[in-house]
Every structure is written in structure tokens, then in C-alpha cells.
Symmetry: C2
Subunit: 289 residues, 2 copies
């Protein structure tokens, strides 16, 4: 065995597969994938998603300098508990989970010798599974990190170099609680909107009448049910509040439309459109071809 350092990517699904592929070639590390099924390991090796891959965590975790947990949130929490005494002393464990409070809480089981920095790369698609992974997934995405007070500067720097290497736009450092409160708005409620729109009785009559706004708004509705059930449930109070605020804002638009006062409606639209313009965000997200 060479003296190469090891990044273990555990869970080779949509995100894990993309992360492994994006990390290949990083500095003097090799990327070793860990999957439950041999079929996934074979796929990963055949498609050069990892340098090596295995179904046996015990083969790689005790030697890994970085462990990137890419399962769903509950799977991450379970894994931390199950392998807490296996991780190599001095290593960095991180993750990709879309909720951070529960995961940071789960990471408390780790021994003092193991560093944990929560991570949420703001990227993904409505698909799941390694066959939909692609190594450019994280390009121009925000890379959110939620360190612990005791996280080492060396590991924080390493996280930044990872973010840069996989093409992220920036590194945002925040607390788990703040992350979860904001993500309820920027990501979770967008998924609730998408599914709620698809609940409409007119859905199947609208073929041939949909344009870009419909496709964009409902794109994420075909979501991974298991994953999103966890994400929504583990952030329920924050998400519930955001949905309620959206109901109020939609209702205000309905009243403005019912009122039949075009001047009033125009003012209201101008106010909202101006808020959007102030956001000055990049246009449509990356395109998956």
C-alpha cells in the first residue's frame, strides 16, 4: 500500500457518487467508495467514480483520513453511532445531509480524537442513485459548513480546499440551527410547493399547455420520498412556519386579484418583483444534460 491519504465516501447514491467523482484527484488523496451492494461498487469502479470501492467499511474506515457520509440524515446518525470507535484517530468526518441540527447532535457520540464538521453542498437533482450522479454537480453551488467549536483549523482549511476543488461558488460557515431555519425556506418549501402544485386537479389536463415556469417550479416534485420524508420531519417546526407564511402571502395575492383594482395589484407585483431583483442571483441552476 502506498502512502497516499484516503478519503472514504460512504454511500454511493446520487450525491455520494457525484462527490466521489468530483473529489477524485484531490491533492495526494485517493477516493475509496463504500457501498452496501456489490452492484454499486462494480458500477462505481466501471465508471471511474472512485479510485477503489468496497462493500466492507472495516476495510477502509480505520485507515481513512477523511470520511464523507453521503446517506440520508437518519442513516448518517446511525452510522456515526455504529462506527464511532472505528474511525481513525485524528481523522475528519463530514457529511452532505440537508438538515444539520440532528446530525451535529448525532456526531456527539464520536470520541474526542475524531473531528466532525457538518456539510451541506447546495446541489442535487430530482433523481436518485449512482447512475444519475455526475462529477460537475457541485459547480457554482454554495458549500455550507457547520463546524463544531472544537473543529481544527487544519480541517476547516481542508473543507475549503475540497469546496474549491469540486467547483463550489463559495463556502458559507454557519450554525446548524441557522442552517435549518433558512433551509426550510430556500429548499424545503420549494419542494413542498412542487408537490402541492402537482396535487392540483388540473395537472393531467395541462399537457401541451405547460411552459418554462411550470417545468421549473415542479421539477423537484418527483422527489426521493424516503429522503424528503426525513428532511421534512427532522425540520418540521421551521418548515411548518414557512409554509404558513407562504399560505398568507398567496392569500394576499388572491385577495388583490379578487379585488379587481389593477393599480393596487400592479403596486403589489412591483414590490415583490423588486425584491427578487435585489437578490441578484444567478439565473437558472446548472443544467443536467
Amino acid at each position: 500500500m502506498s502512502g497516499q491519504k484516503i478519503i472514504a465516501v460512504v454511500g454511493l447514491g446520487l450525491i455520494g457518487g457525484s462527490m466521489a467523482a468530483a473529489l477524485r484527484g484531490f491533492e495526494d488523496y485517493k477516493v475509496v467508495g463504500v457501498a452496501r451492494r456489490q452492484e454499486t461498487v462494480d458500477y462505481a469502479l466501471r465508471h471511474h467514480i472512485c479510485d477503489e470501492a468496497t462493500t466492507d467499511p472495516m476495510e477502509v474506515l480505520p485507515r481513512a483520513d477523511v470520511v464523507w457520509l453521503c446517506m440520508n440524515p437518519k442513516g448518517i446518525v446511525r452510522y456515526l453511532d455504529e462506527y464511532k470507535s472505528v474511525f481513525k484517530p485524528g481523522c475528519l468526518v463530514t457529511d452532505v445531509g440537508g438538515v444539520k441540527t440532528a446530525i451535529m447532535e448525532g456526531a456527539k457520540v464520536l470520541p474526542e480524537t475524531v473531528d466532525f464538521i457538518g456539510c451541506h453542498p447546495m446541489a442535487g437533482t430530482e433523481f436518485s442513485g449512482i447512475e444519475h450522479s455526475f462529477k460537475t454537480m457541485f459547480q457554482r453551488a454554495h458549500f455550507i459548513v457547520t463546524p463544531r467549536a472544537e473543529s481544527s483549523q487544519a480541517h476547516l482549511d481542508l473543507m475549503s480546499r475540497f469546496a474549491h476543488y469540486i467547483g463550489c461558488a463559495d463556502v458559507i460557515t454557519t450554525s446548524a440551527e441557522k442552517h435549518d431555519a433558512i433551509i426550510a425556506y430556500t429548499s424545503q418549501v420549494m419542494h413542498i410547493i412542487a408537490v402541492a402544485v402537482c396535487d392540483d386537479e388540473d395537472l393531467f389536463q395541462c399537457r401541451g399547455f405547460e411552459g418554462g415556469s411550470f417545468r421549473d417550479c415542479t421539477r423537484v416534485a418527483a422527489l426521493d420520498v424516503g429522503l424528503w420524508t426525513q428532511l421534512f420531519s427532522m425540520n418540521a417546526p421551521a418548515l411548518s412556519k414557512v409554509i404558513e407564511r407562504l399560505e398568507v402571502n398567496l392569500h394576499a395575492y388572491r385577495e388583490a386579484i379578487d379585488k379587481g383594482d389593477e393599480g393596487f395589484l400592479a403596486e403589489k407585483l412591483a414590490w415583490s418583483a423588486n425584491r427578487k431583483r435585489q437578490m441578484n442571483l444567478p439565473g437558472p441552476g446548472q443544467v443536467v444534460l
Copy 2:
């Protein structure tokens, strides 16, 4: 003057500019743009958006074989009334308006010698003005037509050839009333969602935390206020009903999340996600580079 036939595109904004550019070279027609401002005419000619362009409708309308009205809906209705006796006998007048009942009603002022077929190409962006127009705008878009009972087959065929030439995915023929009812759902409420999302108190705190779903869902929020005030107002009853249904569907999701029953939430999500999958729509709309 040559024997070339003439398509007059009236109103060289985002849609009119794109339509003129997309139509250039169609069969043995030349495309003549009509704009209010000389500046727009100059821009159109400098960028080869039209074969010819003028600020004077009287110069082209009496000779035009096809007149494509590309203003906002009220502008189209006013124009039909103002120029009803100027259009060339036997010509086809059409439009691009996002509401059709009011426009088909407005077209009743035309003399019997002038054919009118309503049209709504399901394409556009959140920008406005000729400087944002692009000739590939209509590629893969639905091309909806609302003919009158007395529309000639020759003109219907011509509309289909236009749709094909500008790259539309298909031609959907329907009534103005059905168009307006469905469009309230597939397009108008998507715009209401986008502005309502931007009304949220967390909007400006979410920079750095937004991903593809947020960008996609709010893309159209920076809308053309004058245009959308008209579109919403001219279709208010249908739109109001769709917003109300969305409020109900969102509320049901909020209740499911508050309930804390993961099995129930998973079932609900699976049901909605499956509806979306059944739609089997193409992915993200065309990308504007």
C-alpha cells in the same frame, strides 16, 4: 418592390423581437417589424431581427399578408380596433397574448375579409425588451392556437408551418375559454407562487443558502409588472380559483408535517411525486445563455 409576401410583426419587445427573428427566412415572406420608437427600429435592423422595420404602421399594414400582434393584451385589443379598416383584405391577423378570451372578443371588430387566429406560443423569459430577444426562444415550446369557427384552413395550415419553422414542439388547437382556464394553472399561478415566495420575510437572509430549486421556483418573480397585471386581471376568476386550490393543497402538507406521522407524510409525498412522474415532461426549459 418585389413580389415577396409580408409578415408584419407589430411590437418589437421580448416576444415580438424573438418572433421576428425566428420567422426570418420563412418561405417567400419577408419580415417587417413595426415599433413605436425609432430606437427600437434601429436596434432591430442593426441586429438583423427583421428584414425591414418602421415606426409607421400605415406603411406596412395595408400590404401585409400576415400581421403578428406582439404587444400586451390590452394593446392588442386596442390595436385591432384602431387598425381594423387598414388590414389588407384576405390577410391573417394573429397574436401572442397570454390570455385569449378577451383577445378573441376584441377581434370581433375586424371586417369579415380579415381572418383572425389567436395564438399563444408558450415561451418567454422573465426579462423584457428587444435587447433580451433571441430567435431560438420558441424551440421545443408548445404553440397554442385558438381559431375562430370561420378561420380558413389555408390560414390554419400556415400557422402550423410557422410553428414548425420557429421550432415549436407541437401545435395545440383549443378554445379561448379552455386556454384561459388551463393557463391560470400552468403559467399564471407559477408567477403568483414566485412573487409570493419573494414576499417572505427571510428572502434577504437566504443569500448563500439557495440552490437550484429556489432559483428555478423564483426565476419568473422579476416579472414585467404592466404585462402581468393585465394577464392576471383579464383572467381573474380562473386564477383566483387556482390560487385557492393551491392554498388548500399547501395547507394539507402543513398539516401532514405538523402531525409528525412519517408514514402518513411518506404516503402523501409518494402520491404527489408519482403524479409528477406520470406527467413525463421534458426537464428544465430551454436555457437562456
